[in-house]
């Protein structure tokens, strides 16, 4: 405990902590993010309905506008309900949960692929490096959303229709994860090539450290700053990509909706004047992405890794 407090004190006493406390944008978006994350984690407790279970739908209260009680049943809904009596607040909470989960795991996946390949590429150089960077070049010339769409489309085709919906979440994570590794690989590779020349690496080589230890214990900690910046920015990007895939119908199914799926189904009600079914998931999505982007911008300015 004492060690933890000391660590926190050190963090807030540092330049980064100082800049953080002085940046209203970063402070505010952290707050917003924490609230959203808490809401997502607590969805099963907070949500009035369990939207994953069709039995909890309040069919008689269908199409209730937000912040009003249904004329028929008298049930009050703060975010309103859709045509099947699904509470929009609950749907948004569960949707945020799925969106955040997918984006986080996808970022972790692309980070591990990208950092590993970047370390290998930068450290060993030569043919390995050329091969990896060639693939990266090709992938970089194709927009990420496109690669994600293709992977998701192909995997849908490969899977039997029965398991498609249950496995959809893994497919989406895989699609977004694979589409995003290049930025990490390139940045880490560049940083490793610089670090490789440093004396501490030479010294470590001299005492005969195994390559693995060298890469993971000595070089990796020294390139973690740019990785952190990219991870933050690509978290926002992953959330948006997932929403886009789901919106297009190539992402998460209506039985396990993310914010994008909710927006997709909400769009049909827009023409009928029932704007709330779309509005709340859309507003949550925008807030989430905006908060992460503001935080990412601040991080980039503070850590200031060149060439980003």
């Amino acid at each position: 405990m004492k060690r933890l407090t000391r660590k926190f004190a050190a963090l807030f006493g540092s330049d980064i902590g100082h800049s953080y406390l002085r940046s209203p944008g970063a402070l505010f978006s952290t707050m917003v993010l924490l609230i959203l994350i808490a809401a997502a984690l607590g969805a099963p407790l907070l949500a009035p309905q369990n939207i994953l279970d069709p039995r909890t739908l309040d069919l008689l209260s269908a199409n209730t506008p937000p912040w009003s009680a249904n004329a028929l049943t008298g049930h009050f809904y703060s975010f309103g309900t859709d045509d099947q009596g699904r509470d929009v607040l609950s749907a948004t909470l569960y949707g945020t949960r799925v969106s955040l989960l997918v984006a986080l795991v996808a970022v972790l996946l692309s980070m591990s692929i990208g950092v590993t390949l970047g370390l290998i590429s930068g450290y060993f150089g030569g043919r390995t490096d050329a091969a990896i960077m060639r693939i990266a070049d090709v992938q970089l010339s194709i927009p990420a959303i496109f690669i994600a769409l293709l992977i998701s489309g192909l995997s849908r085709t490969l899977l039997a229709p029965g398991v498609r919906d249950t496995l959809a979440i893994y497919m989406v994570i895989l699609a977004i994860g694979i589409s995003g590794w290049v930025t990490y690989a390139r940045t880490v590779r560049g940083a490793v090539m610089v670090e490789k020349q440093r004396e501490y690496v030479q010294a470590a080589l001299m005492i005969g450290l195994p390559t693995r230890t060298m890469l993971l214990r000595h070089i990796l900690p020294n390139v973690r700053r740019p990785i952190l910046v990219i991870a933050t920015i690509s978290l926002a990007l992953s959330i948006i990509t997932e929403a886009t895939l789901s919106y297009l119908g190539a992402g998460l199914p209506p039985t396990q909706p993310s914010l994008g799926t909710l927006i997709r189904s909400g769009q049909d009600f827009l023409f009928a004047g029932e704007w709330w079914i779309l509005f709340f998931p859309a507003a949550t999505l925008l807030t989430l992405a905006l908060a992460i982007n503001v935080l990412g911008d601040w991080l980039r300015d503070v850590l200031n890794p060149r060439g980003l």
Binding site: V138, S141, I142, P143, I145, F146, L149, L150, S152, G153, L154, R156, T157, L158, A236, I240, A243, T244, Y247, L248, G249, A250, G260, I263, Q267, L270, F271, G273, W275, L278, A282, L285, L286, A289, L290, I292, N293, V294, D297
Partner: protein, 325 residues
Amino acid sequence: MTGFFLRRLASVFPVMLVTAFLSFAAFHFIGDPLQNMLGQEASAQDRARLAAELGFDRPFYIQFLKFVGFALQGDFGISTRVGRPVLDLILERLPATLELALLSFFFAMSAGIALGVMTALRPSSALSRVSMTGSLIAVSLPNFLIGIGLIYVFSIKLGWLPSFGRGDTVKIGWWTTGLLTKSGWKAILLPAISLAAYQLTLILRLVRAEMLEVMHSDYIRFARARGLPKRLIYFSYALKNTMVPVVTVAGLQLGSIIAFAVVTETVFQWPGVGLLFINSIRYSDVPIMATYLLIVSFIFVAINMVVDCIYYLLDPRLRAVGGIK
């Protein structure tokens, strides 16, 4: 220049071959085309006969070579969903996508450069502040939400513009254009703006950053000292030098506009190739998916190559020995 161009061209072939192989593998391993064509009740003899007729009994690599051969002649097979040649389906929808992509590219470039210059030169003006805040929001705003927002305001609330389709089109040869009719222009406006929004912010931020950097350079300071008119300094001296990175990014953005057209076309039910592709994903129509993949990667590769060459032409430093490889 020729050497550079040839080297670039040579690097295109492996990429295209890999893409072709992936497309072919998709054809080959996903789904069972024979089953689709024959139906459930076909006998084993029927199956073998059709396989022999279509060359499916040949070794994998011969089939692949045949696929490449046919693809080079523009024969990409038949859509398993619609039952028409894939190339016809794609060609009749290509004009819609290209018109949309080029118009929004034009929007993004003109508005992006204008606003970028303005935010760099007059950072405290109201319009600059609005565009800087707007650009931060636009980066976080998924493309499809911009489209839905535009539909809500301009189609549903105000009723000014249509929310879907292409309006009336005019046929010129095999090309259909919506840019010659009033309803066509009305229909393309919202999709083009929503598609342009993200690229616009990218160009804006880039031009702004480049302008800010250039304005601090010595030659601008010197031009000021000589008492040259401001207009001349800003546009002939400063802006011209920001164009090298802008052209590069703009070229890459054209590719990403084509990719994001998939999303915009879905939002506005725009009858382009993107919508065809999305439907083919939903219905597992592999020939269309594979052909779209091939054609789009060809477009990307071509754009990248053109951009590289423009870059090379614009920046004399790259032409020095040992510059770009």
